[in-house]
Amino acid sequence: MTALFDWLAQILGILAAVLAAPLFLGWVNQCRAWLQNKSAPSILQPYRGIRKLFHKDAVIAANASQLFRLAPYMVFGAMVTAAAIIPSVATRLPFTQAADAIALVGLFATARVFVSLAAMDVGTAFGTLGARREMMIGFLAEPALLMIIFVASLISATTALPRISELLATQSLALYPSLAFTAVAFTMVLLAENARIPIDNPATHLELTMIHEALLLEYSARHLALMEWAAALKLFNYVCIGFALFVPWGLATSQAPLALALSSLFLGAKLVLAGAGIALIETVSAKLRVFRAPEFLATAFLFAVLGLLVRLLLGT
């Protein structure tokens, strides 16, 4: 019976993540507009965009292969699977027995490979350009993300995300310089991986600087809707990984409805703060040249490695 409840909670959790992801994106956009003294779009704007796109007829280039049609479903599927193994509300997730944090990095990599292949599939110059940039960013961000996960794994002696956050949340309060370093590194990786401002500007179609938008140029209608939704879900997933590693307090460790409701409230509060934080970072920083991106990500990697070394030496 408890197993059944676990599965029920798991499925509800996935549904909630998929449905709430555009809302979070809307919140970030709204905060950013406020901070930049613009009149903000409605917080529901991402939903409207997705609905509009689903009602349109898809146009696909004549020379596009099956891969091009398949990619949006693969990417969306990878993001939903990732949402299933990240403890956003509850830590008792049946799915996590099959996949740990390293598999999670692999899921993100799968999505990236499909996006890039699909962008190169049609053969336009911009698609290829975007794919190459995306792979460059990914190849630099992935080791940093792995290092960040290793630091948390060293502290809690497990690579399963729910166990890590359970352990960090339940122990007595202690100062972790290693976790502070990795938190900085994670913020940088989050910004780079989700096409946020120091690396990419999600609000522009300016040809020479875009990365994320260049990948999606050939997509339309339902395919584009799925891609946009997957991007929103990716941001949501990343923020939830951050919560699981660095601010795990308030997670439900049991499946009692009351505990789940309370932890959902906690998650909502954390999301509101994190969204405002991302918008603030995006407002105060300027976009880097593409060739400065390796430096930015090398710094993130450095922070993560320093965290690892400090953990090994000081035991903190």
Binding site: L167, A174, P177, L302, G315
Partner: protein, 224 residues
């Protein structure tokens, strides 16, 4: 989870040690000399706080004195002197370092690994509560050394030299709860005099070569 076993002041000391290491890396990557000097002052301030904390923890009176010395010399006087010097000399930027920033950082990480390995047997021998930070102190010294090697301008080399002294001081503190008072006074006086002499040197170098780039000193004859 050995962290929970540690008392809070030790946790704080460990955090300060980690921040010192972080500042060394910031200095390694920084090319603006003004910021470099400010980072040096912050490093001195962290060192002062760590010394005060250790003094409070061990009850050693002379540590309070050396904390005061650190505050006066490394947080206030030397940064002030350096700021005055760069205003007079008009050097605000170092030239491109010999190795690019990312490369230097990676070498820095290797140095940290090396010095942690180097310090492990020393830490095993020491009996102080802060013995784990010896590795960090060695790393700070070696990274400051790297800062000196990769820079061309005399100014940033001097800042590297002072940061090295900070590392040595921190090492002595974590290995044996500070050096004897007389040695500490001697070192402080040495640093002060070295700084004053180097200040005069800067002007001499500039007068001779019209620049503070130390590469000019490498050639033996003037007509080369």
């Amino acid at each position: 989870m050995n962290m929970t076993a540690l008392p809070f002041d030790l946790q704080l000391l460990n955090t300060l040690a980690a921040l010192l290491l972080l500042l060394s890396f910031a200095m390694l990557s920084q090319r603006r000399i003004v910021t470099l000097i400010n980072l040096l002052a912050v490093q001195g301030a962290l060192l002062c706080i760590a010394t005060l904390l250790l003094a409070w923890r061990t009850g050693a009176g002379h540590l309070y004195l050396s904390a005061g010395l650190t505050l006066a010399l490394k947080v206030i006087f030397l940064p002030w002197l350096l700021h005055r010097l760069i205003r007079k000399l008009g050097v605000y930027w170092d030239t491109e370092p010999l190795l690019n920033t990312t490369g230097t950082m990676l070498v820095g990480v290797l140095i940290v690994v090396f010095s942690f390995g180097l310090a492990q047997p020393i830490s095993a021998l020491a009996s102080t509560a802060t013995r784990n930070s010896i590795g960090i102190a060695v790393a700070v010294v070696l990274i400051a050394f790297l800062t000196m090697i990769t820079r061309r301008k005399a100014m940033s080399q001097v800042v590297g030299f002072l940061s090295m002294e900070n590392g040595l001081f921190f090492g002595a503190m974590s290995a044996t709860y500070g050096m004897p008072m007389i040695v500490e006074f001697g070192v402080a006086l040495d640093v002060l005099v070295a700084m004053l002499v180097l200040g005069v040197f800067f002007f001499q170098i500039r007068e001779q070569f019209d620049s503070l780039d130390l590469q000019h000193l490498e050639s033996l004859k003037e007509d080369q």
